[in-house]
Amino acid sequence: MSKGGGAGLRWVRAEGVLWRRTQAAIVMLTAEAREPFSLTGSGRSLWDVLGDPIDEHALCLRLARLHGADVALVAPAVRQVLGDLARRGAVVQQP
């Protein structure tokens, strides 16, 4: 994840990530990982939105609207999850 949220860059699911949506979680396996991991709770809707490239601010707005929450509260959590997903190779940034 680039510093400052990667101005001008958009987040999207990495092409090589394998995933399934279950009732409780998004289960995924990245190209680099040996073990699957899960995104639960509102992470599931974050994953849905990442189907198409989206910048971080727009992503936060979408999720805040979706969950009826204040964008200022949503943004730090989104940044943390994106950082974790990026480290695992599940999401990438593109122009």
Binding site: E15, W19, A24
Partner: protein, 366 residues
């Protein structure tokens, strides 16, 4: 779990499933059975869906258990899909044509959501003439054969498939054809590479069998793959027939060419009866009227109630073309290489005794 409930779970979401699911939470011991059966039969995707949409009443804790088990099954599916991608890359690099069979291909191509359809191994078909090359490629990459072949060249010429294990102990079935015994020899596996259905996985384009051949393979697996038809295979058949636009004329044409009408008819009837389906289908009408001849009934028995590898092998002899091929097949059965049997004369005699028993059984039944 009583069979009707297991079938009702597996039929969930089908247009014409008439079996009912519990409208109040089951007692703990029955729920444990439901979960255990859904795990074993790989029907957890439909159980989780039925719980989620309220069709299967549960307590909150039971629902969580179902969802957790489903997530576990999907984790395994993903690990297997990673293996599939590795296998496909290896075969492609070695110039070996291939088709993805069953699990991942069916999950992605025949279901609205691949999460509904768990699987427990990876199945890939390669052309018979490239079989040895495919095995050598995989062995060089660290895969291990489950056991040596009967005789050198046997698998390439006669086997349905060879099971290999990855470095992470995951199972891969490398197929030469779609079925064991006579039905396997009667179909021309080379024709299966003339067409395909593409699907995307992890950013790659993979090739599966064409829809009609995928459907027939599901029928072969349901009827010939185990003594009791697996609910998962029956669900695949129902799914493909009721929710996809299958070319039934094409199905019948291929089936006739494969001499597999008895398998198709039995698979369709089993599917309708198991799930209590009421949906009309011209294929069902044909299947109910179809009467297999004595030879087909004998072969079907070798795969079901009188199931034995030896008997299935004996049924294959008639379908093997050429006297030399028949003799090579029989010779391999009678005198397998030492590596296949392992050490000790006793193992050879046990093998031979099993073969003789199968022959007696086959002749007796035939």
């Amino acid at each position: 779990m009583t069979p009707p409930l297991a079938a009702a779970v597996a039929a969930h979401g089908l247009p014409s499933g008439v079996r009912s699911l519990p409208d109040r939470p089951l007692p703990a011991h029955q729920w444990r059975d439901v979960l255990g059966d859904a795990k074993d039969a790989r029907t957890i995707g439909w159980l989780a869906q039925a719980v989620d949409d309220g069709s299967f009443a549960t307590t909150e804790a039971q629902a969580e258990e179902a969802y957790e088990l489903h997530a576990e099954a999907m984790g395994l599916a993903l690990v297997l899909e990673r293996l599939l991608l590795d296998v496909v890359a290896l075969l492609s690099d070695a110039g070996v044509d291939h088709r993805v069979l069953k699990g991942s291909a069916v999950a992605h191509l025949d279901y609205p959501d691949p999460a509904l359809r768990p699987f427990g191994d990876v199945d890939v078909l390669v052309p018979a003439e490239r079989f040895d090359m495919a095995v050598a490629t995989l062995l060089a990459a660290g895969f291990v054969r489950e056991r040596p072949q009967l005789r050198p060249g046997f698998d390439r010429r006669f086997a349905k498939s060879t099971t290999l294990t990855s470095t992470e102990q995951l199972p891969l079935d490398l197929h030469r054809t779609l079925a064991a015994g006579r039905f396997g020899f009667a179909l021309d596996a080379g024709d299966l590479f003339a067409s395909s259905s593409p699907f995307r996985l992890g950013g790659r384009r993979l090739l599966a069998l064409a829809p009609e051949e995928r459907f027939l393979h599901a029928c072969y697996h349901a009827v010939l793959g185990s003594p009791k038809p697996p609910l998962l295979a029956l669900r695949d058949i129902a799914q493909m027939l009721l929710t996809k636009e299958l070319d039934l004329v094409g199905v019948q044409r291929r089936c006739t060419a494969w001499q597999g009408q008895a398998v198709l008819a039995r698979a369709v009837v089993l599917t309708w009866d198991t799930f209590g389906m009421v949906e009309p289908s011209p294929l069902l009408d044909w299947s109910r009227q179809y009467r297999p001849d004595a030879a087909d009934r004998w072969v079907l028995r070798a795969h079901t109630v009188g199931r034995s590898g030896g008997t299935q092998a004996i049924t294959a002899v008639a379908a093997i073309t050429g006297v030399r091929q028949k003799l090579a097949f029989l010779w391999a059965l009678i005198v397998p290489q030492r590596a296949f049997l392992g050490d000790g004369k006793a193992r050879y005699w046990r093998w031979w005794a099993r073969g003789a028993a199968a022959l007696v059984h086959a002749v007796g039944r035939g």
